[in-house]
């Protein structure tokens, strides 16, 4: 089964990359360890969006709401329940998945742009509730100083935890993309009518994709809390959704690892350009314009094309 998913070259490259990342904290200053841990979380977030965007063709315009919901679910569980902290890591993604199911049941009835607009409205509703419900969610202050298990309390601990969880989730997402479900999901992306005509219940398929994507976004949410130790309503604000969408486009949304690369680029850009100017989004805007004109397949798409002129479609 493993052989059917990866060829030898991919396996070796993956192993080397993983080994490098495992060694990295030994050499890097603490700030970079933190930055990498954050990138792992956001890379998973962007990949989870791309599951429905690039591979499902769904106009997932408000993906951040599932991410923020997972982060809040974790934070609230940890601060309010008094149960062992690790349970929070298990429960939070399921809370996101449940939200994915609830919103999805309403939104998958619509198509394309209408789907996206309705998702923005409903997601903003969740955001507004979080923003206003001071007694429960802390309102616009959010929740700070969230207690974390000792193992992930240090920045190196958080790094390793995020690396392992994100890598596992990426592997799972990869398996999903290459499963019959994923194959048919890509069929729906290309041609929903035809998919329906070959006996696929398109809405049910899209709803399932929605729940899976929300689940992994929820995992990413818990990883964010592991790095930052706090949550705030911006995590589910629609501008963040737009940012994740840009990560997918930037990295290449028809390639599996494209969005993860896009996430790394944008987080780095924000961190380093942010030191010099608070108008770093201006740089992002220019990058985006260049991207649309010159790299419609994304950065990774360009590399793959250079490496293999026969142009592979999936990473």
């Amino acid at each position: 089964m493993f052989n059917a998913l990866f060829d030898v070259k991919t396996t070796i490259t993956g192993m080397i990359l993983l080994a490098l990342l495992l060694l990295l904290p030994q050499f890097l200053p603490r700030f970079y360890v933190y930055l990498f841990a954050l990138i792992f979380a956001i890379a998973l977030l962007a990949t989870s969006l791309n599951l429905v965007l690039g591979f499902g063709g769904m106009y997932q315009f408000h993906h951040a709401v599932f991410y923020g919901f997972g982060a809040y679910a974790f934070a609230l569980f940890v601060t309010k329940s008094g149960l062992p902290l690790w349970i929070g890591y298990v429960i939070a993604p399921f809370c996101s998945a449940a939200l994915g199911l609830a919103l999805g049941l309403i939104t998958v009835r619509l198509h394309q742009l209408y789907f996206g607009m309705l998702q923005i409205s409903l997601g903003s509703l969740v955001w507004a509730i979080t923003y206003r419900w001071y007694s429960f969610t802390g309102g616009d202050d959010g929740i700070h100083g969230i207690p974390l298990p000792d193992l992930v309390g240090s920045s190196t601990g958080a790094y390793y935890f995020n690396l392992i969880v994100a890598a596992t989730c990426l592997l799972l997402t990869y398996m999903i993309v290459n499963s019959p479900f994923g194959r048919i999901f890509q069929g729906i992306r290309d041609n929903p009518e035809r998919c329906q005509a070959v006996g696929v219940n398109v809405q049910k398929q899209q709803l399932t994709g929605q729940v899976l994507a929300a689940f992994f976004a929820g995992v990413a949410g818990t990883l964010f809390v592991t790095v930052e130790g706090s949550v705030f309503p911006d995590l589910m604000f629609w501008t963040l959704s737009l940012e994740i969408l840009i990560m997918c486009l930037l990295g290449g949304w028809f390639i599996f690892l494209g969005p993860a690369l896009g996430a790394a680029i944008i987080i780095s850009l924000r961190t380093f350009a942010g030191i010099y100017t608070e108008y770093w989004t201006l740089i992002l805007g220019i990058v985006l314009m260049l991207l649309i004109f010159f790299l419609p397949e994304g950065v990774l798409g360009l590399f793959l094309k250079k490496a293999d002129p026969a142009a592979k479609r999936e990473g």
């Binding site: 398996m175 290459n178 994923g182 194959r183 048919i184 290309d190 005509a197 070959v198 696929v200």
Partner: protein, 249 residues
């Protein structure tokens, strides 16, 4: 096998199909002919569930399937191809057919097994039968128009249908490609015993393969009968075929 009873489809008052009737027996090759705008494609859309009818019944194997969603109709054993190429253009030729095969085997919610190793033989057999096996790994969007039309039929076969509906299978094809498709249809009907319902403008093709022909005009049925009956029918001559010359093909 299939019995369409005075079916009606109205688009905001415009009657695209108005009381059409059609009978298809098991093993038949039935052609639907008629001038542009007669309602042939709409009729097919009604049968395959793309559109719900305004009135009338569609009996398939003694069950009324009128108004069922298209994925349900498909699971009852009716597959179709389209007049305008309607494929999964980013997927490879192999994957195009595999989508239908996986769907037929109800594997659409299997999320952890690699699709690459599933239904491979079945999919390749279908590609072989339609003559696209050597192009299996090509991205379908890069195929020629003729090959894409053939792939249309391949996708429809992925569901192992009992009734295959082909909407103008040779539209836009070169004479050579048309001949290949004609032979393919003969094989599907002869060797595989498929029941085929199709519509077509190429009269030579219709009269050479169909054993039943239904003639449509203004959304209704003028006549359904054997090629000879249709050829000699006065109404058909006046309404559609226009003169003895064309009928003699």
């Amino acid at each position: 096998m299939l019995h369409v009873e005075s079916i009606v489809k109205s688009f905001d008052g415009f009657l695209a199909v108005n009381g059409a009737t059609l009978k298809v027996e098991k093993g038949d090759v039935v052609a639907v002919i008629g001038p542009n705008g007669a309602g042939k494609t709409t009729l097919f859309n009604l049968i395959s569930g793309q559109l719900p009818p305004t009135a009338g019944n569609i009996w398939f194997k003694d069950e009324n399937i009128a108004g069922l969603a298209s994925h349900r109709v498909c699971r009852k054993g009716i597959s179709r191809s389209y007049q305008v190429v309607n494929i999964f253009h980013r997927l490879t030729v192999f994957e195009n057919v595999q989508v239908a095969v996986l769907s037929h085997h109800q594997k659409t919610f299997n999320i952890f097994k690699p699709a690459k190793i599933m239904a491979v033989k079945e999919t390749r057999d279908i590609l072989d039968s339609v003559g696209l096996l050597d192009k299996a790994e090509m991205v379908s969007g890069a195929l020629s128009h003729g090959d894409q039309k053939v792939l249309e039929i391949g996708i429809a076969l992925g569901n192992r249908p009992e009734l295959l509906i082909l909407d103008e299978p040779t539209a836009g094809m070169s004479p050579e490609e048309t001949a290949v498709t004609l032979r393919l249809m003969q094989r599907l009907s002869g060797d595989m015993g498929l029941t085929i319902l199709f519509c077509e403008h190429d009269m030579g093709m219709v009269f050479s393969i169909a054993n039943q022909i239904m003639v449509m005009q203004h959304g209704g049925t003028i006549i359904q009968g054997s090629p000879d009956e249709v050829r000699s029918n006065q109404l058909v001559r006046e309404a559609y075929l226009g003169g003895a010359d064309e009928c003699s093909v």
